[in-house]
């Protein structure tokens, strides 16, 4: 099955990929250092980038503050935006990695005419395209599995990923993020008849838990099981390409619980009235738009768009797509006021 294949291929290529990324980064630094003294004011030093995955870093990136590691907003064009604008004809489009399986975030409603994707993330994409290319529909959507979001950016298959992607320190080593545009936290989704009551109360012992491979949920579960805060008997082997595949496994009785972002868990629960979310969100996470680390002008531009979007557009999109699943009150989901890296 796909999940297994992805997992084994990850196991096989993880090391190689990490090494290649390190080499690429080191090379990029050697080449860029002499010329780009100024842009280093953002304080993200080479040391930080070369550290392997971890919770706290030498340079002080803590996951609770990862959302602040972004460049200050600017409307100026740069090499990346110029390249996007230089696309001609049918190719004059922003290439964006999205999800087509997240109910009310990015999905194809089978009951609407045409093949349009729709949802909260998709609204934001249209807004970005409108701003950069002057046409909200100048977008080429690419569906990306959870585990491929980062490689898709690094390989240049997409200009950006707008796909319920949590900003973390580990991911900051590989891609750049915009300021946060949504706040959520991991939650547990179970059938209503389940005895599971929450995440940290030990009721997940002996349960089979499904996560999307490469998701923050999976990494959290793995880390917690090693630390012992998640019972060792919890079976977290089921890692699927997409969080929605977890709903399939849950309904087929192949797993007992799903752990994913509360925002997505609510979307799953909305598709099956026999499921419920249990316990409070046990993490705090922020969604950001992910871009190539070198696309500094694009990051700044998206941050400027987000400032405008928060003021006009965000609430309307929330009301349209998410109020039904996450509640009329949007305050728990609102992103914090953005902090940018000092000089910018």
């Amino acid at each position: 099955m796909d999940a297994r294949r992805v997992r084994t291929s990850l196991r096989g290529w993880g090391g190689v990929g990490a090494m290649a990324a390190l080499c690429a980064l080191a090379l990029a630094f050697v080449l860029l250092l002499p010329r780009t003294q100024a842009p280093h004011e953002d304080g993200r030093a080479a040391g930080q980038r070369t550290t392997a995955a971890g919770q706290a870093r030498a340079d002080g990136c803590r996951d609770s503050e990862a959302q602040d590691q972004t460049l200050s907003p600017s409307g100026a064009d740069g090499p990346t935006i110029d390249a996007i604008k230089a696309r001609t004809g049918a190719k004059r489009k922003l290439v964006v990695g999205v999800d087509q399986n997240s109910y009310r975030w990015g999905y194809r409603n089978p009951n609407t005419e045409g093949a349009e994707l729709e949802g909260f993330d998709i609204d934001l994409v249209h807004r970005i395209a409108q701003d950069i290319l002057g046409d909200p529909n100048a977008v080429q959507f690419k569906a990306i599995p959870t585990s491929q979001r980062i490689t898709a950016i690094q390989d240049g298959r997409v200009d950006m990923v707008v796909r319920t992607m949590t900003i973390t320190c580990q991911r900051l080593d590989e891609v750049a993020f915009s300021a946060p545009y949504f706040k959520t936290g991991q939650q547990v989704l179970v059938p209503k008849s389940s005895s599971v009551k929450g995440y940290y109360d030990g009721t997940l012992a002996h349960q089979r838990i499904c996560t999307a491979s490469g998701s923050t949920a999976y990494l959290k579960l793995k880390a917690d099981r090693e630390k012992g805060t998640l019972p060792a008997t919890a079976d977290i082997r089921t890692a699927v390409p997409n969080q929605l595949d977890c709903l399939v496994r849950l309904q087929l009785g192949e797993v007992d619980a799903v752990v994913t972002d509360g925002a997505l868990a609510a979307s799953q629960a909305a598709q099956d009235p026999t499921l419920k979310l249990v316990g409070k969100p046990f993490t705090t996470e922020y969604y950001g738009v992910a871009m190539k680390s070198t696309a500094r002008d694009l990051v700044r531009r998206v941050n400027r768009i987000l400032v405008d979007y928060r003021a006009d557009g965000w609430q309307a999109s929330y009301d349209r797509w998410l109020s039904a699943t996450l509640g009329k009150d949007s305050r728990p989901s609102e992103p914090p006021a953005p902090h940018y890296l000092q000089a910018g």
């Binding site: 099955m1 049918a90 489009k93 089978p110 977008v139 595949d245 399939v248 799953q268 598709q271």
Partner: protein, 477 residues
């Protein structure tokens, strides 16, 4: 000319000279002139050998031995012929009525399953709810596959690996159908989890069911080849015995001529004629059967294999074409340092295989009726390739809806080309099937009556040989 004093049915070697002795079969060698009473009890074999040696010293004794050997040779020839030809006839029968239909059936199972899956994914791609036509096609495919599995199961050897494969497919089919039904239900409610079910079902089909069906097809083809292998080899043992019997008859007649100066011994001559007839029948009949069967393999089976493989390649290509749009670039594959969309990459390979298959099928087709549909399919494929290139260009430019229209839209979409390829290949397969049945049937018919006929002729020849020798023996009264 004295009349042989024994009835034609009288047991062979019991010469009229010694009616007192029990009428034993020829082999033990009738104790001709002097039946020396055994002095002491010896083994039966030694006793028999002693008697034969004793018998060989006189002419009547020798004649009896010669008669026995001749009869024995002719009877052996007849029975080996009957045995070997009936074995070949049975194998030819299996080719015609069992293994070839089963091999075709296995290809049919594969086709139905793949087509059902492709139809289901097209329905999903189209968005909205599936049309009545696509639902009917899907249901029809599932029914065909289920019926094919029943036939295959009824003909599988108990405990064979084919049986295990069929059981696995039988188990997976309702699972698959269940997933598709769930996908339909959720689709109707507008929930994307319907799409997730479809992906899960597709996974099951691609990674478990189709490989099993392909495995079954391979095994049935092996069985078909094995049946051909049993039906066509020359019956060397029978032919050798026939030649030996003829040689012995000839020698016996030559010996008679030398001793009596009589040219014709009626019995022996009749035996020679009968044996020659049986041998000719054997050689000619088998050669005809063999050429029929070989022809049915070369012109039917080989073409059909190529056509089935081409059809499967075209189905796979269609499936991958659809999936590339379902997955929307989610899956990539790196080949030779170059990154490709997984499904587009496989589509290109499938289409290449289809092209090669069609070229080969044209070469193998031996008449216009056979090559016509293949040529037409080649034309359809060329259009398909063009339209696919256009659709892919749209997709790569991000015009998803336009790409979709070019793939699953109406009669100008690639779907229409695929359907035409499939239909034409079905015609071609039908034609080859008819041709196969005809040639293999002719081959099979060439063996009709041969086992029984050979046995009867051999019996006649044996009787003739004994009568001929008996005629000579009677001169020693």
């Amino acid at each position: 000319m004295t009349h042989p004093p024994k009835g034609s049915a009288a047991p062979p070697g019991a010469g009229p000279a010694l009616p007192a002795l029990p009428a034993v079969p020829p082999q033990p060698g009738p104790p001709a002139a002097r039946p020396a009473p055994p002095a002491a009890r010896r083994s039966a074999f030694a006793e028999g050998a002693e008697r034969v040696r004793a018998a060989a010293t006189t002419e009547p004794g020798r004649l009896r031995i010669i008669g026995a050997v001749l009869a024995l040779l002719v009877v052996a020839f007849g029975s080996v012929t009957a045995w070997q030809t009936s074995e070949r006839a049975a194998a030819a029968d299996d080719v015609l009525h069992r293994s070839q239909p089963l091999s075709s059936g296995a290809a049919g199972i594969y086709r139905s399953l793949a087509d059902a899956n492709t139809t289901a994914s097209s329905g999903f791609l189209a968005g909205g709810q599936e049309t009545a036509a696509s639902r009917d096609r899907y249901e029809e495919d599932i029914r065909t596959a289920a019926a094919g599995l029943v036939t295959a199961a009824a003909n599988a050897e108990p405990g064979s690996s084919s049986e295990a494969t069929i059981a696995r497919l039988n188990r997976l089919l309702p699972e698959y159908k269940g997933l598709i039904e769930r996908a339909r239900t959720y689709n109707r409610q507008g929930y994307p989890v319907g799409g997730a079910y479809l992906r899960y079902a597709n996974d099951k089909m691609q990674n478990k069911m189709l490989p099993a069906a392909e495995d079954l097809y391979t095994k049935e083809n092996q069985r078909l080849d094995a049946d051909y292998g049993h039906a066509t080899p020359y019956p060397w043992a029978a032919i050798a015995l026939g030649v030996l019997a003829l040689a012995a008859l000839g020698w016996a007649q030559h010996r008679t001529y030398r001793r009596t100066n009589r040219v014709l011994n009626h019995g022996l001559a009749a035996a020679t004629v009968a044996t020659t007839a049986a041998l000719l029948w054997l050689v000619v009949g088998h050669t005809l059967a063999r050429s029929g069967l070989d022809g049915s393999y070369d012109h039917g089976i080989r073409s059909m294999k190529v056509l089935h493989d081409a059809r499967i390649a075209s189905l796979k290509a269609r499936g991958n074409e659809n999936l590339s749009l379902v997955s929307r670039g989610a899956e990539t594959i790196t080949v030779g340092g170059q990154q490709y969309d997984t499904y587009y990459y496989h589509f290109d390979r499938n289409i290449t295989a289809l092209g090669k298959g069609l070229t080969q099928a044209t070469r193998l087709a031996d008449d216009r009726a056979g090559s016509g549909p293949v040529k037409a399919a080649e034309g359809n494929m060329a259009v398909w390739k063009q339209r696919h290139a256009a659709a892919r260009a749209e997709d790569e430019n991000g015009n998803y809806q336009q790409a979709l229209d070019k793939v699953i839209g109406g009669k100008d979409a690639t779907g229409a080309c695929f359907d035409s390829v499939d239909r034409n290949l079905a015609h071609a397969i039908d034609h080859e099937q008819t041709e196969f049945r005809q040639t293999a049937g002719d081959g099979r018919d060439a063996l009709t009556g041969l086992p029984v006929g050979a046995a009867v002729l051999a019996a006649l020849a044996a009787a003739g040989a004994l009568a001929g020798i008996g005629r000579r023996l009677s001169e020693y009264r």
